[in-house]
Symmetry: C2
Subunit: 346 residues, 2 copies
Amino acid sequence: MKKFAVALLATTALATPVLGDELMEAAQDMFKPLPSTMPALADNVVTPEKIELGKALFFDPRLSASGVFSCYSCHNLTTGGDDNLETSIGHGWQKGPRNSPTVLNAVFNEAQFWDGRAADLAAQAKGPIQAGVEMANTPEQVVDTLNSMPQYVSMFQAAFDSDDAVSFDNMAKAIEAFEATLITPAPFDAYLNGDAGALTDDQKAGLELFMDKGCVACHAGINVGGEGYFPFGLIEKPGAEILPEGDKGRFAVTETIDDEYVFRASPLRNIALTAPYFHSGKVWDLKVAVQIMAESQLGDELNDEEADQIVAFLGSLTGTMPEVTVPILPPETATTPRPTAEVLPQ
Amino acid sequence: MKKFAVALLATTALATPVLGDELMEAAQDMFKPLPSTMPALADNVVTPEKIELGKALFFDPRLSASGVFSCYSCHNLTTGGDDNLETSIGHGWQKGPRNSPTVLNAVFNEAQFWDGRAADLAAQAKGPIQAGVEMANTPEQVVDTLNSMPQYVSMFQAAFDSDDAVSFDNMAKAIEAFEATLITPAPFDAYLNGDAGALTDDQKAGLELFMDKGCVACHAGINVGGEGYFPFGLIEKPGAEILPEGDKGRFAVTETIDDEYVFRASPLRNIALTAPYFHSGKVWDLKVAVQIMAESQLGDELNDEEADQIVAFLGSLTGTMPEVTVPILPPETATTPRPTAEVLPQ
């Protein structure tokens, strides 16, 4: 291990940017590479036991009323951490209101959900479990379900070092701990870390356009987005087929008129894997999505080559996926609440 | 590796049954331990490339029309290779007609499905993908989907050593190859292999009852079942809440009056993990299921202790789950057919 660390340092040293690489320096000013370790979480000390528990919970369909859906269902780790649907399908075959965002690197977003209504991943995790159109469960039944399986109770006790550890809050914290491990270092990180050869010429041209045109005004930082809130249609509002009138974005959170059609800037890591795009999930082609953004946010019509180059740059944000072993979950017992497919009136 | 093999042999030698262990000898006559390697498949040469492809396909929700369901959805490797539902929920929130059987060790069943209508796992894999109440897809669209992703095309070419490798048949063969790796050695295997200490006294008492009472007449061989077809209700037909009148079992396959309410004997490996029980999925408690079987198939009313001991024996069939890493799937392209949640009339 020590040997490897030394070798890594040596490589990094060699790859220090040559003087005069202005593009790299400009990028280093605007973006930040992923760290090599998971970040610290607010009010949530992470231990291997907590990560292990969180992984089990993340994969467990018994957190849903029907026994059909788990966190993994819509944040599928085989397909970029999302479900590749316009909007997710949940309990009773109901369609959710917005496109499911990727869980990968989500820990680095300023806040969670398209409108930032959850401060962190622990708060986020509680949402879909209770949403009638998603997992349609209740905190009480989740706690009953977990308490019915002695192996889960032990896992909670080990993760939270307490005899009374099984709670909806602790469930969410464990899920957050697991999700915080889902980090995907990409060629762009190698570039930001000083390796000028990590991007192709097309990707560098795209990066330059991305900064010069102004995309970077909203999509910056560690997740190339995921920070700050901006109106969708700053210059020119897209049509209702892309920006449905009924969904006023952050307005529902703040009830401030200025927040109508305001959304959190999308984090762009792994964006090439997570079609369809926008909160409405109405656009499948990344190039088209880039062109719509340029028009609606910047009032700029990209030519074909420019759009291709920006798409090439975005491809450099596709990272190495975390290796995750399918967990083996505790078996149900006689007291585990039974799944129900029934759709209750909201 | 060599050292480990020698050590293993030595342990096995030490564990050879002592003379006079009649129970073990009787069990060895009726059952067979899992082999230490996956079995050969008919007309399907297995390679690491084919297993890798099959794993990707097994986890890929894009094999379903909606993009929601994969093989993994109902044969969930976190919960014993099944979905722990009465009957599976599929496309359009429709309920399937029968309980989803476990995929674990299924390669050792004589035939697949509750009525044995698929000769092997490759034939089985084609069923749910096309069933309107499950994945609701068509072979044509599956092939279009796979062909739209260059990475899948390469994987098929590597697995089938042919340029024209992408086909519905080859998809099924690859899935079969992966599924054939899902083998779960259990304490009962150690016992059959000669380790008298692998079962508790209760489990041995249960094993003895299992053989003496006659359960073994249907539940024998490598999967403790999964071979042969028998009427459910041989001595006494259970009520319609357990044996619904509308489902005549193997009669639908053979159209022979003798096959009314005939089903393939359930394989019992990992049965403690795969509630609810029977093709109807109506019984959640394994002890109750054992009692119903004794009454309906053997005309025998088990006392409480006997039922508990048989359940203890069945617990010795819970095996070590295979370690499976979540595959990273090829990303969609512009030509990948889009998912649709629409429910078409059958």
